[in-house]
Symmetry: C2
Subunit: 464 residues, 2 copies
Amino acid sequence: MTAPHRAGGRTARSGRHSAGSLEEFHEWWADRHLQGRFHVEQIPFSELDSWSFEADTGNLAHVSGRFFTIEGLQVRDNGRDIWSQPIINQPEIGILGIIVKEFDGVLHCLMQAKMEPGNINTLQLSPTVQATRSNYTQVHRGMSTRYLEYFIGPGRGQILVDVLQSEQGAWFWRKRNRNMVVLVTDDIPPHDDYRWLSLEQIRELNHSDHLINMDARTVLSCMPFPLPDESQLPTGDPFRDALIRSCQYQQDGVETRHTSGEILSWFTEAKTRCHWTARLTPLAKVSGWTRDDVEIADEHRQHFRIVAVSVEAGTREVQRWTQPLLFPRGEGRAVFIVRIIDGVLHVLVQGRPEYGLMDLVEMAPTVHLLPGTGVSAVEDPFLREVLVSRTATVRYDQVLSEEGGRFYNALTRYQITEVGEEVPLDPPRNYCWMTVRQLMDLLRHGHYLNIEARSLLACLHSLY
Amino acid sequence: MTAPHRAGGRTARSGRHSAGSLEEFHEWWADRHLQGRFHVEQIPFSELDSWSFEADTGNLAHVSGRFFTIEGLQVRDNGRDIWSQPIINQPEIGILGIIVKEFDGVLHCLMQAKMEPGNINTLQLSPTVQATRSNYTQVHRGMSTRYLEYFIGPGRGQILVDVLQSEQGAWFWRKRNRNMVVLVTDDIPPHDDYRWLSLEQIRELNHSDHLINMDARTVLSCMPFPLPDESQLPTGDPFRDALIRSCQYQQDGVETRHTSGEILSWFTEAKTRCHWTARLTPLAKVSGWTRDDVEIADEHRQHFRIVAVSVEAGTREVQRWTQPLLFPRGEGRAVFIVRIIDGVLHVLVQGRPEYGLMDLVEMAPTVHLLPGTGVSAVEDPFLREVLVSRTATVRYDQVLSEEGGRFYNALTRYQITEVGEEVPLDPPRNYCWMTVRQLMDLLRHGHYLNIEARSLLACLHSLY
């Protein structure tokens, strides 16, 4: 599924400044697969160790009161109940952190080969540190978190990115993690499960299915410094030229469809259109969902299930454990529609309400179909047409995984599709044309881009 | 309580470009008092009309399900209940909007003389529009909201400010309102209760107790355009010089104590230190608080009460109504400590967790004592010393009112106190030195400055 315009020559270019070539990466990667012992098995809830359903609420919780709970979500609009579902409640703020360092003047990221029980392919490329607070404060008495000292405490690196960002609003109750990037000058010898990769190599690797994990994508999306500048123009490719211009500031003469003030006002207005309120409720009170020995599922078998798994691992902090996971039905789809407007690539961003978000609405892919939802669910006819079109140019098309520590085989097909005049400059009110730079500026703050939009932005970064 | 350095000559200067002089304002203001009929009386809960305690939850709610409810707040830390209290839940997003227009090249604001039942002095100066969604969609069948059409719909003015900002995290559950400023060129003849005032006149009026209401202060604080520029330097007053420099951008050569990246990281870290979680709970389940015929109060008579009032008004949307109000005990105190660092005024901002905030922590006054709390409650010795010091220079000192539509006689003494080397450049980790411009840049977004910090910023704007 490599996008056609990426073929040829890039791998060699990418390797030029790196601490190792991509060929060496793939050798290391294959070796990591051989070294790791990993076995995941679905089990009945009764075989969960230290997890149980609370008598009064029916919530599924860990005996320590830590990690996360499976609770109920209740949504009301104008005094009426309009929706309820199970939801993962994980109020702790974890750290997703990447250490970066210059080798021969080129920034490299210290990336981790990490096994997660929900990964379809066991091993994916993760941030240097990917740890919940329960993890790194060692609630489950596992090993300490490697390289954590570069992110917290007095000896940490120079902070380049440090922002709380949300995760799946459809599945998590107001979850967010601390996305961090720190710059170091120390000599850090990578442990066997870690490897230095240049940003260009990572972008190249993001043209593979299920390789760069969700947590790595969100941190990569928040990095403002590796954006290309105008000195790289022209490239000979009008799409890449427009993309590079999209990364420049408005004051540098780039024509943007909207000012940042207009974008903020559009976003504020999208929130004021939400009249629903969402609350946590006891899982036992969630209607339309039933629990048997092995799963909690909706009556129409349309949404996701909550299941339990047992895990045996040779390279993770704890050797054997059991835990609940959220198991979607089928594959999701997230699409950024992009269009060159006055020579500058613009992304059609959706202001999308999600019941689990902390603040009602975040900026989302132009189209986001949750697993189990088809194109017919898209309300706007012009978007349905783009999705089934044979003439639109698909610039990026890979299936990537969502967080394997909470979701079981949660796959999303991420696409970036270039369109022309068939998609209007004045879209319906819940959409807004924005440049890459405008999105990046908002990513300094939380509550703006949702996790799928950030994933797609990381994919867009791999098209430079 | 007029700050001494403001005496003499300013009133005449202020009037120069205005649609009317301050003398005329005061005549109009006195006349508004004479014209308005307003009577507020505390009543037993049983005499509330259309409000009642719900049988199952004990929550105090309106029969329509709209407006707001009085519910319970439950806070847990590490599995233990650590705090509970009644709290106002008002999920609707209202509009606080000011219309601005140029007269002879000077921006003027259309301000409203507005009566609120909780105001200590009945009438205060309010934004052009101050309306909950229930108000402006006419749930209580009152009059329509005057000038609303300039803020919503196709004919509205040019939007200069449009941002959701939080309100009291100690008393509201995740409340915020839409703060808006729109620029018009139309000729708008002010209704009798409205008047055009220049920003300079408003700043002058903010040196009076209980005149500019909370809703006006928050909107005024978010206006970036009336900041002074460097061309006004030097003024002959080192404090004003430092304040004007504090309004300039870092790229214009102003030395700031921290970069914006450092400030954002400091703020992120403050949130990660919060291990508590807060939830709504039925009011009947709140422990330590009791309800009698006329109030809900805590056992130690230390915090606030929930009471009921009956209101009769001649100039508000509805002629007679009853409603609950939150009634604090005594006066609060909010202080910004400021210091000139390298010629630039810096504000010592506190990262303050509040249980009712949507996102754990917002930037707050250096010191904020809720009503009923004394200086001895301040944990940091250097701050206690400043509060009782006779040598620190008090630059602003007025008692202003909090929102009179939800709170009964809620008064806060707002102070801006200049200090020297006795307050360290490296304060404890929950404080950060910031410039006015840095605060203003953050005010383009929600979730940063809390309502008391925004009030103080509006007060700081009146010291130029």
